[in-house]
Subunit: 350 residues, 2 copies
């Protein structure tokens, strides 16, 4: 693999056009890839939002790929986005990195220090967990409310208007993210093995999963899971589980109902800790829903079931299905923070 | 790494003493290492059993380390055991390889073919899942009854006197081996994260596990699990869970009770499928108990609880805690098979 150093990567700037107006970079680093968007800083709130450029690279979760590779990926995706938008680093007024694996203030500080080496001191820098970008994608950059992400993994993340934050789950399957696409699929595989062993009830999941994977017998599942234990590969079984449930399989239905319970409990834990629903639970707050597990299917709509479950306790929760991707959410977060600051300055002057 | 070819490995034979009597090789290839013992074929049943040599190497599960490395490890451990016992391949009359990862007749045949290239045609060859060696270690080589192994992983494996066999679990954590040391520890970690998130009850496991790992906060568990997701490393938390349960922690006690239920259900599934308990369930059969999860602690004795649970349905089950290790069980299995054949020949002649 060719290794780019920080120096090499930013050399592209030399051949670019002169200053063309300030921009903001928003980066969403999820479990499987990293997306960077470049938006104008002086942005009118049009629909659709004016995205100057968009670039994609591999995983940048430092826990998964190591710190060096994570940084290299993030630097590359940002330099390419600027190149594509015909901008330079001197045009950047803010950067928001929202990356999976930022779980601790130490992670956050390390990345801020490293970003500070790349961008001049006037550039506003924000480093957040990728869940925060997903929240911002539903709230146009405002950090208030709760987001539930359920794709390969799952996490619930929330903010109060005065800046307190809380999260639940998002710790990977060893630490019990059972409502996720991985969790649902792993439970379905377990159900197949249990039925085969005589430890659990017969289920249509057996034939449906074996057909989907092109395997002849549940014995072969052991070799299949060992081959490559990446969570995304296991999570790809989600549609088979949903279809089995929609065809009336009880075991598959039970797994999906459990998933609803798990996901709702993550949301409720965050909402309760932040007191988002107020004293009577009726205070309104956005509940941003993101990820393939939460999308509607033919008959099963896990996302809707989770919303029903949450609004029983917190009727003020209003669901939002974002129209923009999390990388745009990250950029909007930075945009919103700058706008608030400017607003504060104006008020101070007055 | 220096790579030995099959040819090199067996070169040691050239410098050895001449024929000194037939021997049997027994190999136990588990999740973390591979043990080979060499015993005399004309073995009087002394106590302790006469083990001529014992050698140890790394993991030989082809699913974990790949086929080439698994074979190389197995070949090395056998050639070294012969060297240490001052024997040559021509002294070997039987070999039993009992290796984790043999889950399918195809795995078995591939290994038999490969063994056949190493040993002359008169040598009796046996290839089994490593659970079979554990059973044989409790029954002096006779394949009858059920074994329950619960160490890092877990499996139940059984045989009828007429050669039918069945297994339950043993498919790894993705496929739901929740009664194992890994399973117990992963559930304890999950309970800590849930308590921290506000999704589950407070538990003494939090402080006990953080102290054991030298971590300051449950946040840091995410990084800790990502660092190295090997099952054995997670399973090392077992004593902390048992101690927490013994100190009265309800969450830890619930996890251990669940583990008992899971392990007993694996045994019962095997016993039922093989009809080991006969029509009334009272027919006697050995229940061999192996692995650190099943050892007695101060107050908690998971093994004993599992036995209580099994004997409620199958009062004929008599528990055996083997005095010899599984590699000796593998050798005894081969010894027993040869003896039965010889016995059969004698009876045929009569």
């Amino acid at each position: 693999m060719q290794r780019h150093t920080g120096r090499d990567m930013w050399d592209v700037e030399e051949c670019q056009s002169p200053r063309m107006g300030s921009v903001i970079l928003g980066v969403d680093g999820g479990a499987s890839n990293t997306v960077c968007v470049c938006i104008p800083a002086a942005m009118p709130f049009n629909d659709p939002l004016p995205v100057l450029s968009r670039t994609v690279a591999g995983c940048s979760n430092h826990n998964s790929v190591g710190e060096d590779r994570a940084r290299e990926t993030l630097e590359r995706v940002m330099s390419q986005a600027l190149l594509k938008a015909r901008r330079r680093r001197s045009n950047v007024c803010a950067v928001c990195l929202a990356v999976a694996g930022v779980n601790h203030p130490i992670d956050q500080q390390r990345m801020l220090d490293w970003l500070r080496d790349i961008f001049p001191s006037h550039v506003k820098l924000f480093v957040e967990n990728d869940a925060v970008a997903a929240l911002a994608s539903g709230t146009m950059g405002k950090l208030h409310g709760c987001v539930l992400i359920a794709g390969t993994g799952t996490i619930a993340y929330g903010f109060t208007s005065d800046g307190r934050e809380a999260r639940a789950a998002g710790a990977g399957p060893v630490l019990g993210d059972w409502g996720s696409g991985y969790g649902i699929s792993a439970q379905a595989l377990t159900a197949v093995v249990r039925a085969y062993d005589g430890r659990g009830p017969e289920t249509a999941l057996t034939n449906n999963i074996l057909d989907f994977l092109g395997l002849a017998s549940p014995d072969e599942l052991i070799g299949w899971t060992y081959e490559d234990q990446s969570w995304a590969r296991i999570a790809d079984l989600l549609p088979v589980v949903v279809e089995s449930a929609e065809s009336g399989d009880e075991v598959a239905n039970k797994i999906l109902h459990n998933s609803v319970g798990e996901l709702a409990s993550s949301v409720k834990a965050v909402v309760q800790r932040l007191d988002l629903g107020g004293e009577d639970g009726k205070h309104p707050f956005p509940l941003v829903m993101v990820g393939k597990v939460l999308e509607a299917n033919k008959r099963w709509d896990i996302g809707n079931e989770v919303i029903d479950c949450v609004t029983k306790n917190y009727p003020g929760a209003y669901p939002i299905h974002p129209k923009v991707e999390p990388a745009v959410g990250a950029a909007l977060l930075a945009w919103n923070a700058i706008a608030s600051e400017l607003d504060g300055d104006i008020r101070t002057v007055q």
